[in-house]
């Protein structure tokens, strides 16, 4: 009996050893470059996880159908191994280990959210696996000295500082008063730091600085304070629930504030869920389809949006666009490195300087993209109640003029 068990475990150990050693040749099999990704397909990030996956898949299909990746005179196609991380950082880190040490993946794509990227980055770093990520914007990702992490998106602290600058500009260059309400997670707190920097830079003053809980669904107290203090700008960042709750309660409580700036408006489908109540809200976004960046694969934002809609049946949120851009970056780096050596690819990634439909991409030593400014759009509705997001800042990309100050509720 005991002997049987020993033999069994010996055999299974051998099988595991054998299967891993076979699999570790899997980075480039035949004409395929295999990338690994742990993505939240279930759990609390599942909707954005799916946007991310759709973005990756769209780019893989496009690049493959347009000739693939040329390395060493040979043409390769992309393929991605996906695992579901269940929106759980621990699971994500385990899966990264598994992708690298069992499946033999040598190049990774990022997961969704700053939190999960933070969990995976130490693993990819340990194995020297280059990772291009598109959905982790937290500033702390870029201050750890990671050498193999590259983010195509702008860091979180740049999300809303534009709004403060804009408010000061509209106030004839004079400082403004700012009310802030931020959730207590890594991302929102980074956004807050950026806003604080902007407040300091412009000599403005913060009058309210509230922290919102994870289980947020009522921010009436903050809004009552806003009514009392009458700030020039109200800044809210608390993922989709923050955006939805803020708009609902601002409308219900008739809070008048000249400028309202938020994050996660398009993920919250703000104008769809709230209609006219969301009008005039300013939203920070990594990307908008009307931006005029161009590349050879997706042409431009409008074409990308139309193609995406045709394939997946909905308008692409920026989470999908940036995910697609990550693949374009990889392709570019492989071709410039002209090799599959991880170090060479890493160096090629670090030297990236390109334009994609999503924006310019150039990495700082910390790994963040420094060549792509955030845009602010404003929700604008016509008389029939149909609402659209229109880019209002920076001026270079603006497709509409900022409406400022926001009309009072009594006048709407």
């Amino acid at each position: 009996m005991r002997l049987n068990r020993i033999i069994l475990s010996f055999v299974s150990a051998l099988v595991i050893l054998f299967s891993t050693s076979v699999a570790s040749f899997a980075k480039v099999v035949g004409d395929k470059i295999i990338l690994g990704a742990a993505i939240s397909l279930t759990g609390k990030y599942s909707s954005n996880g799916v946007h991310t996956q759709n973005g990756y898949n769209m780019a893989v299909d496009r690049i493959n159908s347009m000739g693939g990746v040329k390395v060493g005179g040979k043409t390769y196609k992309f393929d991605i191994i996906y695992y579901d991380d269940e929106s759980n950082p621990k699971r994500a880190a385990q899966l990264a280990e598994r992708l690298i040490s069992q499946d033999g993946v040598e190049f990774m794509l990022g997961p969704y959210s700053s939190g999960l990227t933070k969990a995976i980055a130490p693993v990819t770093e340990k194995y020297g696996v280059p990772m291009v990520e598109a959905n982790g914007a937290s500033r702390s990702l870029f201050t750890k000295g990671y050498k193999y992490l590259f983010a195509v998106l702008a860091p979180a602290n740049l999300y809303l500082d534009v709004a403060i600058d804009l408010a000061v500009e509209k106030n004839n260059g004079k400082p403004v008063t700012v009310a802030m309400a931020f959730e207590q997670d890594a991302f929102s707190q980074d956004v807050r730091l950026g806003v604080l920097d902007a407040i300091k830079r412009t000599g403005s003053k913060k009058v309210i600085d509230d922290k919102l809980p994870k289980e947020l669904n009522d921010m009436a107290a903050t809004l009552v304070k806003v009514k009392q203090m009458k700030p020039d700008v109200l800044v809210v960042s608390g993922h989709t629930k923050g955006a939805l709750t803020a708009i609902r309660q601002i409308a219900e409580m008739k809070v008048d504030v000249p400028m309202l700036a938020m994050t996660h408006c398009d993920a919250a489908k703000l104008s769809k869920q709230h209609g006219k109540n969301s009008q005039y809200a300013l939203c920070a976004s990594q990307w908008h389809k009307t931006l005029t960046y161009k590349d050879n694969f997706f042409k431009d934002g409008m074409t990308y949006a139309a193609d995406f809609e045709k394939e997946f049946g909905y308008d692409p949120p920026y989470q999908s666009a940036e995910s697609s851009a990550a693949l374009l970056v990889f392709k570019d780096a492989f071709e410039r490195a002209n090799s599959f050596d991880q170090k060479k690819v890493r160096d090629a990634l670090a030297a990236t300087n390109m334009q994609t439909f999503y924006g310019n991409i150039k990495f700082a030593p910390g790994g963040q993209n420094v060549d792509k400014p955030m845009v602010l759009f404003q929700v604008m509705c016509d008389d029939s109640g149909k609402c659209e997001n229109k880019v209002v800042a920076p001026t270079k990309w603006a497709s509409a003029k900022l409406i400022h100050p926001v009309p009072k509720w009594s006048e709407r």
């Binding site: 929106s87 309400a181 919102l212 809980p213 669904n217 709750t245 219900e252 489908k269």
Partner: protein, 297 residues
């Protein structure tokens, strides 16, 4: 610490009114919990998840163009049958066992519901718009969203109906008899199995009503159930079982406490302060009990 709430009398009024309206809604959920706790001796950890599920029913009605306020009628009907089903599948196997087993079982149901809701409805935060407008008081200094007034009104209405039902109807009497002494009730011909199923169904129905109201007033999300479970647990602990006025009072008290904690300590400590209060109350109760015991000695 921020004592703005006391500096401006209008903010104090606002906080009190917000708290009371919110508290009435909490009390409705807590009443369901008290009922089933009293009758079946089961602490239902899945209470909050039943609430959220009720919210999704109203949300889906809203999505298909029906006014979400009708959810207040539809959700309890659906939830009643779901409650009975849960009873038949799980709860009847743990109803006579000790409290720990039932907590484990309902904890399991809670996790299952969270994941199923996430799977079926997605992880997005959603809400149902009622477009009820706003009531302004005191020269526009105090604002009360009509959706909150509507929630409080409906909660009170359901509570009154339930009290009358428990007093007058045959099943209501059977439920009360079972709560007092299940064995005696059984001997006297009460079908306790049926009573248990109905009680669990009624509790689920109350959760359904509350959920529909929450989707109209606040937001819902598959993982947002736990704070509602904790709040109702706490209200029941303070008020005791089978004490409806007590539940209503402690519900409103908790609502006002939360609002003030929100203003004074900050929104991030809102739920935390509820947990803290729960600990304090439990410690205080134990302290009081131990003194009583000494006195008896």
């Amino acid at each position: 610490m921020d004592f703005m709430v006391f500096q401006y009398p209008m903010i104090t009024v606002q906080a009190c009114l917000d708290g009371i309206l919110l508290g009435i809604l909490f009390a409705l959920i807590a009443y369901g919990m008290a009922l089933q706790w009293g009758v079946m001796n089961i602490i239902n950890i899945a209470q909050g998840d039943l609430v959220i599920l009720g919210g999704y029913i109203a949300y889906f009605m809203y999505l298909y163009g029906i006014h979400p306020a009708w959810g207040v009628i539809v959700a309890p009907v659906i939830m009643y049958f779901l409650g009975v089903l849960i009873y038949k599948l799980v709860i009847n196997k743990v109803v006579d066992r000790d409290l720990f087993i039932s907590i484990l079982a309902t904890f399991g149901i809670s996790i299952l519901f969270m994941q199923l809701m996430n799977f079926a409805f997605g992880a997005d935060v959603v809400l149902a718009n009622s477009d009820y407008g706003t009531t302004m008081l005191f020269n526009n200094n105090v604002v009360l969203p009509n959706s909150k007034l509507f929630s409080a009104f409906i909660s009170i209405l359901f509570a009154i109906c339930l009290v009358i039902y428990m007093k007058k109807s045959k099943l209501g009497r059977a439920i009360r008899a079972t709560a007092q002494n299940a064995r005696a009730a059984k001997i006297l011909g009460v079908d306790t199995e049926k009573v248990y199923a109905a009680t669990f169904g009624i509790n689920a129905a109350l959760c359904g009503v509350a959920g529909a109201l929450i989707s109209i007033t606040f937001t819902i999300h598959p993982y947002m159930g736990l704070p509602y479970t904790i709040r109702s647990f706490m209200i029941v602990i303070v008020a005791g079982l089978g004490n409806l006025p007590g539940v209503a009072m402690s519900g409103m008290g908790l609502g006002v406490f939360e609002e003030f904690a929100d203003y004074i300590l900050g929104t991030e400590f809102r739920i935390g302060s509820v947990f803290l209060l729960l600990v304090l109350i439990l410690v205080y109760r134990r302290f009081k009990l131990s003194r009583k015991r000494e006195y008896l000695k």
